[in-house]
């Protein structure tokens, strides 16, 4: 089958032309929406940060130069460390808040874990997740575990990186063990990172 140059030109040319027009439209939409999306993400993180510390008058400047051993320490516990924020209460350092990603039951759970200067957890809040509605989402919404406390509240006051294990010292929400394990991994990772920060 002899393929004429003109034919290839017409076919490839049309496809390329259409692709370019589409790419242009996309670039335009991206320009219009990128800032808004970034602002929404920032707001989500700020809300999650405010939830992990109980005192008012807190600031959370981001730590830009995170040492590699801190990231590695978190990795070893199964959590990927993406951001570190310093917790400043009244201008004084009161620990760190770690944005950690750990795998849950239906994909990744992004959470913020606050750890104070004594290496104990001050709070856990979820930034984003895709857990099953009505099951894993119960953990994300801080519903009561089999022991009665909130699934996320139970981490407050705990310490010891790597020592938190579901069914031993952490209670699971009935039917949502994997999601609870995901959050536990993240908290262990944050505790390990806090140790390495000092």
């Amino acid at each position: 089958m002899k393929i004429e140059g003109k034919f290839i030109f017409k076919v490839a040319g049309t496809l390329t032309a259409i692709s370019l027009v589409v790419a242009l439209l996309l670039g335009l939409t991206n320009m219009l929406t990128a800032d808004k999306i970034a602002a929404i993400n920032k707001q989500k993180t700020e809300e999650a940060l405010a939830k992990v510390v109980s005192s008012a008058d807190c600031e959370f400047p981001e730590v830009t130069d995170v040492p590699q051993e801190v990231i590695d320490a978190a990795n070893e516990q199964g959590g990927k460390l993406t951001n570190v924020y310093e917790i400043l209460v009244g201008g004084e350092n009161a620990g760190y808040a770690f944005q950690v990603t750990a795998s849950g039951s239906q994909g990744n759970i992004v959470m913020i874990v606050g750890v104070d200067a004594d290496l104990t957890v001050t709070g856990v809040s979820i930034v984003s997740n895709s857990e099953t509605a009505g099951i894993g989402s119960k953990v994300m919404d801080n519903e009561a575990t089999s022991a009665g406390t909130g699934a996320l509240d139970q981490f407050v006051g705990k310490s010891g990186a790597g020592t938190l294990v579901v069914k031993q010292n952490i209670d699971a929400v009935t039917g949502a063990t994997v999601s609870t394990k995901g959050v536990t991994k993240g908290v262990n990772a944050a505790l390990a990172a806090a140790e390495a920060m000092n």
Partner: protein, 196 residues
């Protein structure tokens, strides 16, 4: 990246988070090609192959897009990669395995629109897998699809002779059967041999 993580990904893709029975990806060809076991196996293998290759290529494409700050072009770029891959495989099968080519018929180009293929590529990005993990997820996801479609085809072959209300003929009874298999697969959800 550790071997246990790869094993955990594989176990997840085949059993606990099966692409068909847990994640609903790849239903159309699942229902369309599962009437006979041998076509089902052929389709399953073809899809596995495409998913593995697509994961590999799209990993590279994604790295380039992210480096250029063009994240929003992911969907367009990925689907173009998948479409071209399927085109090549079609030409390859036509030359070297013509019987399989004719058996798959119109369903071969339909692998392009198979949610499982685009789905696995998008999930690789979402889960932030590295290259080996992406390819492993792609291949084992395909194997999970193969397992699902083969199991289902054996059931459907027996369904031909079963007695059910006329209104359920065709897709409804197939869907209900698939639902029951999905219920069975739910039993795997507690299976965590390797921590992930």
């Amino acid at each position: 990246m550790s071997v246990t993580k790869l094993l955990a990904i594989s176990l997840g893709a085949i059993l606990t988070n099966n692409f068909i029975f847990s994640q609903f990806l790849g239903i159309c060809p699942f229902l369309g090609v599962s009437k006979k076991s041998d076509t089902a196996i052929g389709m399953g293998l073809a899809v596995t192959f495409v998913m593995g290759l697509a994961s590999a290529f799209c990993f590279g494409v994604n790295k380039i897009l992210v480096a250029l700050g063009l994240d929003y072009m992911q969907t367009v770029a990925f689907i173009l990669v998948v479409a071209s891959l399927v085109q090549f495989i079609e030409m390859f099968l036509k030359k070297s395995m013509p019987t399989l080519y004719t058996a798959l018929g119109v369903y071969l180009p339909l692998i392009t629109t198979n949610c499982a293929v685009l789905g696995v590529v998008l999930l690789n990005v979402q889960n932030d897998y590295n290259f080996i993990e992406s390819v492993v997820y792609g291949i084992t996801g395909g194997l999970g699809f193969l397992l699902a479609i083969y199991l289902f085809s054996t059931v459907r072959e027996r369904l031909e002779f079963a007695d059910y209300p006329k209104a359920f003929e065709g897709f409804p009874i197939a869907l209900i059967t698939a639902g029951l298999i999905a219920l069975a697969f739910m039993g795997f959800s507690g299976l965590q041999v390797w921590p992930m």
